[in-house]
C-alpha cells in the first residue's frame, strides 16, 4: 500500500472534517495537489458524512434540557 499523503493542509482539512466544519469541497484542493492528495480528499468527503451522521444521531439521543 502506498503511504497516505499527510501535508499540513490535508491534516488541517481532516481536522475540519472531524470538527464538522462546513467545507467547500469543489474548491478545497490547491492547484499543486497531487492525484494521491485528490484521492484522499474524495474519501475525506465521504468521511464527512460519517462524522455528520454520528453527530446528528448523538444529538437525537441527547436528553432534553431542563425546564426553567
Amino acid at each position: 500500500m502506498t503511504e497516505t499523503p499527510d501535508d499540513a493542509w490535508l491534516i488541517a482539512l481532516a481536522n475540519d472534517v472531524c470538527d464538522g466544519r462546513r467545507i467547500e469541497w469543489e474548491s478545497i484542493a490547491p492547484p499543486t495537489a497531487t492525484p494521491a492528495s485528490r484521492k484522499v480528499i474524495a474519501e475525506l468527503r465521504r468521511l464527512a458524512s460519517v462524522v455528520d451522521a454520528h453527530r446528528v444521531l448523538g444529538e437525537d439521543e441527547a436528553p432534553p434540557a431542563a425546564e426553567a
Binding site: 500500500m1 502506498t2 503511504e3 497516505t4 499523503p5 499527510d6 490535508l10 491534516i11 488541517a12 481532516a14 481536522n15 472534517v17 472531524c18 484521492k39 484522499v40 474524495a42 474519501e43 475525506l44 465521504r46 468521511l47 458524512s49 460519517v50 462524522v51 455528520d52 451522521a53 454520528h54 453527530r55 446528528v56 444521531l57 448523538g58 437525537d60 439521543e61 441527547a62 436528553p63
Partner: protein
C-alpha cells in the same frame, strides 16, 4: 498521569469520572450503531451500562499496546455483548421476525444515514488501522470527545498534539478506504 492509568491503579474517583464521562456518550453511540431490531428487543441501556462497569472493573488486567485504546475496547465490548444477546434471542425468534427477516437485515440509524456501503467500508477500514489510530477515530468521530478529553484520557500534555494526531489518523483512514476502493 492519564485518567485511565489512575483508574487502572484503583483510584475510585478516576473510575467514577470515566463512568460519568462515557456512559451518556456510549448510550448515544449504541443508539446510532445498533440495528432497530436489537434496540427494540434488547435492553441496550443495561447492556451499555453493564459493559462499561465490567470494563472498568477489569482495568487492572487491561493491557493495550497503547494507553489510548479504552474507547475502542468499550465499544467492542458492547458490540460483543449485543451480538451474544442477538444470538441467544435468535434461537427463539417470533413468527413476525422469522417472516420479515428483520433480525438480520434491519439497518442501524447510522447505516440509514450514510448508506450501508459507506458504513461497511468505514467499519472495514477502521479495523485495518493501528490500535492507536482506531482509538483516536472512535473517540473523536464516534463518541464525540473533544481534544482536551482525548488528551486527558491518553495522558497527553498538549491538545494541539492530540488534534494533529486525530487529523493524521483520519487521513490514514481515508487512505485505507481509497485503497480498498481500488482493490
Amino acid at each position: 498521569m492519564s485518567l485511565l492509568l489512575r483508574a487502572q491503579q484503583g483510584d475510585e474517583r478516576a473510575r467514577d469520572e470515566l463512568c460519568a464521562r462515557y456512559l451518556p456518550r456510549l448510550r448515544r453511540w449504541a443508539h446510532g450503531r445498533l440495528p432497530g431490531w436489537a434496540r427494540d428487543h434488547l435492553d441496550t441501556e443495561d447492556i451499555v451500562q453493564d459493559s462499561l462497569l465490567q470494563s472498568i472493573g477489569r482495568l487492572e488486567s487491561f493491557s493495550p499496546r497503547h494507553d489510548q485504546a479504552f474507547c475502542a475496547y468499550i465499544c467492542q465490548a458492547i458490540r460483543n455483548r449485543v451480538a451474544d444477546a442477538v444470538r441467544r434471542a435468535g434461537r427463539r425468534p417470533s413468527k413476525e421476525e422469522l417472516t420479515s427477516g428483520s433480525a438480520t437485515s434491519d439497518p442501524s440509524p447510522f447505516e440509514l444515514a450514510v448508506g450501508r456501503e459507506t458504513a461497511s467500508r468505514y467499519d472495514d477500514a477502521l479495523q485495518k488501522l493501528s490500535e492507536s489510530d482506531r482509538e483516536l477515530i472512535i473517540a473523536r468521530v464516534e463518541l464525540g470527545l473533544d481534544y482536551s478529553e482525548i488528551a486527558a484520557l491518553a495522558g497527553k500534555s498538549s491538545n494541539g498534539a492530540t488534534r494533529v494526531a486525530v487529523g493524521r489518523a483520519l487521513l490514514r483512514l481515508a487512505g485505507v478506504m481509497g485503497h480498498d476502493r481500488d482493490a
